[in-house]
Symmetry: C2
Subunit: 385 residues, 2 copies
């Protein structure tokens, strides 16, 4: 298998884009990525998206978006794995280029949630969980996460306030990202007094919906020009793993076994340990998911991630900076696009192009994209070569 590298990135701001359609958003990110890569064309397009079937009454996004951006006759596929659709599209594009089938590919994650009519969005988000055994019991997606958070607090003795820094850090970092949905810091008081969504998850524990698209161009590493002024960003690892889709079917509902397996595979591929990772784009759809992800990937002991947050070790100058450009919480969570925002942000950091949000000396960055309540985990590790 040949080595693969990221040649270009592009993104739109995460926002309520009332003036843009699904394909316009995807197109903006793709054309920016192609321009950044200095390419006019690629062999294949991999689109990560979760809910266009319902929100936009449009499927078949591979052909649909290839057509829109002028990638005439290129291969085009749509990949879906709920909230990890973006990371999954990136992984599929990597395998296409690594296998030698394609010489270049674009992965784009796109979601246009504001097109979804009223409560339909809650129904669609619930399609990430088990229709028979979770959704049909009346559990919304946030309700499932709330049950996990309650159980976690009960098992390990944490209070709601102990999760505050996951939210505060994300919002403080989002203030440095012009593409973030929310660009101002929040106070501890704001966290404590936020309206409840599903106890114990309040508005400041939950990531916001939004519209957005992010894209990356990948090529075989050997085509990178040694004369380029930019650092070469290589894919050091790419892995996926699933777990039971219903949380109640897991032996331990407060342990993300698939995230652990996915991360272990990735560390082995990259030949590194968690100590080598300079920044980690976690899937902080809810503060509890950030905590569970940090534990499953080996950055915190079991049950101890809130301690890492309380000590500020997840902040930009901490031991393992997370959500460095706002994370799902402040940059926003246009579900199928999120995984590609994570990749684009890791590349920004490794290139030293993260502006005010720059993590000094970042050489190795990791992104973990979570579909469902921990049931489909895509992990990528990128590095400067």
């Amino acid at each position: 298998m040949r080595e693969v590298a990221v040649l270009g990135i592009g993104q739109t701001r995460v926002d309520e884009h009332w003036d843009k359609s699904l394909r316009e958003l995807a197109g903006d990110a793709i054309l920016a990525a192609l321009q950044d890569a200095g390419l006019a064309n690629v062999d294949g397009l991999y689109v990560g998206n979760m809910m266009s079937s319902s929100a936009n009454r449009q499927q078949h996004l591979g052909a649909y978006i290839a057509d829109w951006v002028g990638l005439r006759y290129a291969e085009g596929l749509h990949i879906e794995s709920a909230c990890s659709s973006g990371g999954a599209a990136f992984r599929a594009a990597i395998m296409a280029v690594a296998s030698g089938e394609l010489e270049s590919a674009i992965a784009v994650g796109v979601e246009k949630m504001t097109d979804s009519p009223g409560p339909e969005i809650t129904v669609q988000l619930a399609t990430a969980s088990d229709a028979d055994w979770e959704a049909d019991q009346g559990l919304s997606f946030v309700a499932i996460n709330a049950l996990v958070m309650q159980r976690y607090m009960h098992e390990y003795g944490w209070k709601h306030d102990d999760f505050a820094n996951f939210s505060l850090n994300a919002h403080a970092n989002g203030a440095n990202n012009p593409n973030a949905r929310f660009q101002k810091p929040i106070s501890l008081k704001a966290y404590q007094e936020a309206p409840m969504v599903a106890e114990p998850i309040n508005v400041m524990d939950a990531s916001p919906m939004g519209d957005g698209a992010a894209a990356a161009v990948i090529v075989p590493a050997q085509v990178l020009l040694p004369s380029s002024k930019r650092p070469s960003i290589h894919i050091l690892a790419s892995s996926g793993a699933t777990d039971t889709i219903s949380v109640h079917n897991r032996r331990q509902p407060t342990w993300l076994r698939a995230a652990e397996i996915s991360a272990q595979k990735a560390y082995r591929q990259a030949g590194i340990t968690p100590a080598d990772v300079d920044l980690f784009e976690v899937h902080d759809a809810f503060t509890i998911m950030a905590a569970l992800s940090l534990e499953a990937t080996g950055f915190a002991e079991r049950g101890q991630a809130p301690r890492l947050a309380l000590d500020g070790q997840i902040n930009p100058k901490g031991r393992i900076p997370i959500a460095t450009l706002g994370g799902l919480k402040a940059r926003g969570h246009p579900v199928g696009a999120t995984g590609m925002y994570q990749i684009v942000e890791v590349v920004q950091q490794l290139r030293g192009e993260a502006g005010m949000a720059q993590i000094e000396g970042a050489r190795i960055g990791m992104a973990q994209n979570i579909g469902g309540s921990g049931s489909n985990i895509i992990t990528h590790i990128l590095g400067v070569r």
Copy 2:
């Protein structure tokens, strides 16, 4: 890139499966394929499906189905490209194994159309076309194909009767397939007098909806045991290409340029010409699509596919047997599953396990899966080694 082979296949009958859920159908095909392969587990699952979001209120099929069949912690993804979702899932699985990322994978196509409430199915099928420029004009999916067929008949001077043998051949072949939706031959009179759907497409020009699942296990070719009593079925070629999603945006609406490109790529990969192909599973969602596919892939001159059909050259003993186990027309067209039925049927033929439908001496088989009205084409060529 390492060579890849099919180790096992499985399928359910295409039918109205009121007693089975989406995951039960997929599970039946997967477990049959694993048993056929003699494997208890695989590294990854690739699910082709188009409309579970609407029909089953369930997305995230990679994790959902991996969970159901006990592929605990395996990788799992859902691939969608409208009616070519099955072929696309097979292609993604091939790239995963060919790249060396996985040592084994299952591709499954599954669709449970009868769960879709009433007219919603027509709305969902229209998501394969362009929401803004086709569906919003009131064009159903069959209406788009009817316009193409009208134009084709006008340009080349064919009458409706000239397409009859596409339907008659499919139904005659379906009579020999115990997994087909319809298992009896039809008469020319039945073709001529069938109720109109969208002129000139009548019920006997159109494939039926249905529920079903088909699956194949793939592995690196080098792991096949030379001592096996069965012929080894190798993937000689796998390719994809897209075209404009709106038919009116094409230079020639009656020519499937993406099918031509996809086939040419496949012939190059396999090192063969159309003359070497012993059977061809075409995407005969409508008789006009069978005709256009035969022309784009080089089996008939432009505008002359009805002649091939009239001369019986598409029949089991003809020059290029098509729809050998009934095709979409008689085996049935559970949209996201269809591409995998094509693959499974090619394997049945190459193994000599097609029973009454067996094509004598079949050594090379081709399958072409079409998404939308010719906008996303996946071609596979399989051969006995």
